[in-house]
């Protein structure tokens, strides 16, 4: 097991290239279009349970997903990570199948919406309990180390401002720090946890102040700004990959939807909505791409159309597919099957 290098920040040599930004932006766009569709399906009563969107958080999430390498890295998305999922390589159909409960999806109708994943492909399926994925990803990294497969690997997960108040967040981050694991944690501080504002959630001036208490590197970033995200999140992932230990990134932004689609988010004051955090990261990114000659408007419009098509197809396909059938359901929670045992009475033996 190789000794990791020390925790000091260092010039990692991370640079963003055109392709990174184009690819990230496409995932952002894809997530937005997909999520708008999910919202309509929910409102039309085609999705049961709930729909949880990442509107306004796409830049952060997609940057992370793009910076990670599917097949090598680990990404544990949370509630608002459609963009990151897409960027990491999750096919759209996994999403629509899960939301629509198709038995062909990765969760086979047993779990729904955002509670999906393919753990064996490096994407754990979140449980609802906030913070719980942190130690889990750390454990996956720990296992990689034991198997001699850690060098060059990064594990990442996202949480919200509210999730930082959980014991799981604390224990998980502390564990990762003690083990000096390449864990990247993004706190998407969207100013609210459901309806609860930051000032009822924590009392520090910036959540990034927590990093020092774990002995890890911390970053703040404007989560509405794709270029800033690409710089900071890219750098953090790169450093983790080089062995610099856990990285904590606090991305400041606003949720541009309700908590779920059942919620109108009316508790968010207009001043916040119209302020800097309330900028739509997709608009900002589009401007950045065009102004910096990374993509043209025409290209973007083409991407938009292509994505809209892909989303339509993914929805249509999932809608045609079989739903779970209680009569075919195995109704077993164990992979082990215990045989019925023979009579063991000594007198009969």
């Amino acid at each position: 097991m190789p000794a990791d290098s020390d925790t000091q920040p260092f010039a990692s040599g991370w640079t963003i290239d055109r392709d990174f930004l184009r690819s990230t932006f496409r995932s952002m766009l894809s997530a937005r279009i997909l999520e708008n569709k999910l919202s309509s399906l929910y409102k039309a009563g085609k999705i049961v349970g709930g729909v949880y969107l990442g509107k306004g958080q796409e830049a952060v999430s997609a940057t992370l997903g793009t910076a990670l390498k599917q097949g090598t890295d680990i990404f544990a998305p949370l509630i608002r990570d459609q963009a990151g999922r897409t960027a990491f390589g999750e096919p759209l159909i996994d999403c629509t199948r899960t939301y629509l409960g198709a038995v062909t999806g990765p969760m086979r109708g047993r779990d729904g919406n955002i509670h999906r994943g393919r753990p064996k492909d490096g994407m754990p399926a979140m449980i609802s309990h906030l913070g719980a994925q942190l130690p889990l990803v750390a454990g996956m990294l720990f296992a990689r180390r034991l198997k001699g497969q850690l060098p060059g690997v990064v594990g990442a997960t996202c949480v919200g401002d509210g999730a930082t108040s959980t014991g799981a967040f604390h224990e998980g981050l502390n564990f990762a720090a003690v083990e000096h694991l390449p864990l990247v944690v993004i706190v998407a501080n969207n100013q609210f946890a459901y309806s609860t504002p930051n000032n009822r959630q924590f009392a520090c001036s910036d959540l990034v102040d927590r990093a020092r208490g774990y002995g890890i590197t911390g970053y703040s970033v404007d989560g509405t700004d794709l270029l800033a995200c690409a710089n900071v999140i890219g750098e953090a992932v790169h450093r983790a990959r080089l062995g610099a230990g856990p990285q904590l990134i606090v991305a400041n932004l606003l949720r541009l939807s309700g908590h779920g689609e059942h919620d109108d988010g009316s508790y968010v004051p207009d001043s916040l909505r119209s302020g800097h955090h309330g900028r739509d990261c997709i608009e900002v990114a589009m401007r950045q791409l065009v102004e910096n000659h990374i993509a043209t408007i025409e290209e973007i419009l083409t991407w938009q159309d292509e994505t809209a098509d892909a989303v339509q197809r993914a929805v249509a396909q999932a809608q045609q597919e079989p739903l779970p059938d209680p009569y075919r359901e195995s109704w077993t929670a164990l992979s082990t099957s215990f045989p019925t045992v023979p009579n063991t009475h000594p007198a009969l033996a």
Binding site: G112, T166, S195, Q201
Partner: protein, 321 residues
Amino acid sequence: MSVTYIDAIREAQEKLLRDDPRVFLYGQDIATFGGAFKATKGLADAFPGRVFDAPISEDAMIGMAVGAAIEGLRPIVEMQFADFSSIAFNQIVNQAATHYYRTGVPIPLTVRLPSGGTPGSGPFHSPSMDGIYAQYPGLIVLTPATVSDAYHMLIDGVALDDPVIYCEHKFLYRWLKSKSINGDHLPIGQARITRPGKHATVVAYSAMVHEAVRAADRLASDGWEIEVVDLRSVKPLDIDTVLASVARTGRLLAVGEAFPWGGVTAEVISRVTEEGFHLLDAPPLRLNAHDTPVPYHPKLWAAHRPTPESICEALRKLLSF
């Protein structure tokens, strides 16, 4: 005018805040927002400084409430979903539940658990934890099935000096309506004969009472008179009422929505067989949810828990002995 089950819970909290200065409400998103299910809607405004939003810290929420109870207050803590109490498990079962036995100082804390399944809620927003908490000495576990019980049992529960786990069923929240909030007001610890009968007794609680009544209604057309007993509280468990019913019917089916190993139905059956074996004319039966997490898809969910059909089937089996 009709009152829903969730209205009753809200009304009860309003009355408690009005009548008892020791009561305060604590939970995630319960103040301005009025709670994920609106059980505290308007209460923060009506009672300034008595209703508080909590950080996402279930363990601390209960720990703090135990502290407040030591100081003589009567906190009502809302868990956003019952399952999240798994994070507060230590504070509930080790701090709150043991406190009176250890120190002689009782903990008048009420924990509201939005419990049980609804379509599409999935593995983490559906379980019923009644049978988990009831195993621990020092806790009282209430499982109201009616609008009136939702109201009275919350008020009566908060009046108790001991920690109360109040399991409110999410499916009943808006589905269950009643003309009035005042039903027969039985004391905590007493079961109710919801539907009298003479051929078999179904013991149920929470949402399953309604499924049992439906099953009983169906069998009535075949001439069977099924008695339905609503436990109301699963700890304490009113075994006397159950025994009296079994004495009349000779047959017992226990129905619960929780997972099938152990739990309320096992406790009911083993208490009845121990204390009323001679009353039984047939083997007592049990019906619970399947032994898997509660599935997301409505079709799976509906088949995961007991239904009027499966209850009828069990009853027919019971009646055929």
